[in-house]
Symmetry: C2
Subunit: 255 residues, 2 copies
């Protein structure tokens, strides 16, 4: 009796249904059950019309299913179904709480495979046509989250972490927290005109791209409502002949 099902942790990518990998889309079409985040779009769920779908609504700043309960649901699904998909916004291995889910599944003896996804930083760079590395200018990039992300209560009292000493910096879930980052960078002597690109609702129909200098970042973020990614660094400086597609004025959103 009782071969357990196999669980696939799959990265959904930034939102657009065709920015999942071919492998991810194929597995979604074969899945018996799909447990998905709030960041996964309805379009994406059409790729698994045949599957039972379970929302495990984790989303920064919103009421969310506790991680321990998600872990239990995953193990339970592996007992009841053959092909289980855990669909996560972005990539599962970056800011995805994958460690906890992998531990729970391994402890229960469930086979797991991970399918990578497009992490929002590279999708945002593509949308803005702005490379994160640049020959002679930027050969390192850091992805980080603030110390006050709602999912990380143990960090709240620890104070801010060191800022990454990389040429390009990308702050995930960088809403109000990115204003603090800007303040710290200015305090460290980074130039006021260091380029910043903010991408809201990356790859979705309501995507917005904001370009502005570091000194204006705090103000610019007041306009953002959806999930926001903040990219900072000299590599983000606008090219001379760029901008047929984006308005040139700092502070203006493009649609």
């Amino acid at each position: 009796m009782s071969a357990l099902g196999k669980v696939y942790l799959i990265g959904a990518g930034p939102g657009a249904a065709d920015l999942i990998t071919v492998r991810g889309a194929r597995l979604l079409a074969q899945a018996d059950v799909v447990l998905y985040d709030a960041l996964v779009t309805p379009d994406m769920l059409e790729l698994c019309a045949q599957a039972e779908k379970i929302s495990v609504g984790k989303r920064s700043g919103q009421r969310s299913t506790a991680q321990a309960h998600i872990n239990e649901q995953l193990v339970d699904c592996a007992r009841r179904f053959r092909l289980v998909v855990r669909l996560k916004g972005g990539d599962p291995m970056l800011f995805g709480r994958a460690d906890e889910e992998l531990r729970a599944l391994e402890a229960a003896g469930v086979e797991v495979e991970v399918v990578p996804g497009i992490t929002t930083a590279v999708a945002a760079a593509a949308a803005a046509k702005q490379p994160l590395t640049k020959r002679g200018v930027a050969r390192s990039v850091a992805f980080f989250t603030s110390s006050t992300a709602p999912d990380e209560p143990e960090h709240r009292s620890a104070g801010p972490a060191a800022l990454p000493a990389t040429d390009t910096m990308v702050q995930y879930m960088g809403g109000r927290e990115a204003a603090a980052t800007a303040e710290r960078l200015l305090g460290l002597g980074r130039p006021a005109d260091l380029p910043v690109v903010v991408v809201e609702n990356c790859s979705r129909p309501d995507q917005r791209i904001l370009r502005l200098p570091l000194s204006e970042l705090a103000h610019g973020l007041e306009m953002a409502h959806g999930p926001v990614l903040v990219m900072i660094g000299e590599a983000l400086r606008r090219r001379a002949q760029q901008g047929r597609d984006l308005p040139p004025a700092p502070g203006a959103y493009s649609v």
Copy 2:
């Protein structure tokens, strides 16, 4: 006369043909011409059987087409074809020389769109089932290249750059250069047993995964022959019940 063609810079991902995005695969199937890197696999090129294919063989450490010539070829193709794909290993915006190609195309008035790809770091993390961030342990990750990459001659005399001050560090094209990184990290007081995961030929049939402590990294790299990615940090520590799929002995490659 003469609408110029449109150029798509598309990320091929780490190698496996089904780790390209659905959007990238669809565009490949529609392309009139595809200019591809040496890191793009033959399997991937089967996705564009109908297209004219031009190898622009850039590969670290091998003789490669000069970037200026690639830029010219791109503009020339946009004059001769309707749908031009520039297919790059990994993601175009990370270590992909995209800035130079975007500038050349924009200067010629050619419309460009960027389609993100799975960057090798997240594919390697998926292959090793080892998240790059981890709650309470690692909330920042840096991707970087060494100062002596063959494509960046202007860096040769500049000496080593500052190491990124992030929880997790991922060195791209990290063959011999990663040995120097290990030495510097040990000199900075990082623990000798800091976990390192080396992934060679990520996502390909000959993929190999090596786990070892920081102090043994230099020795471990002697075994590597193909493109190598080196991941360093506490988040890479093996889980207690992991390893049904990988041999536990440090220094041993898994197949």
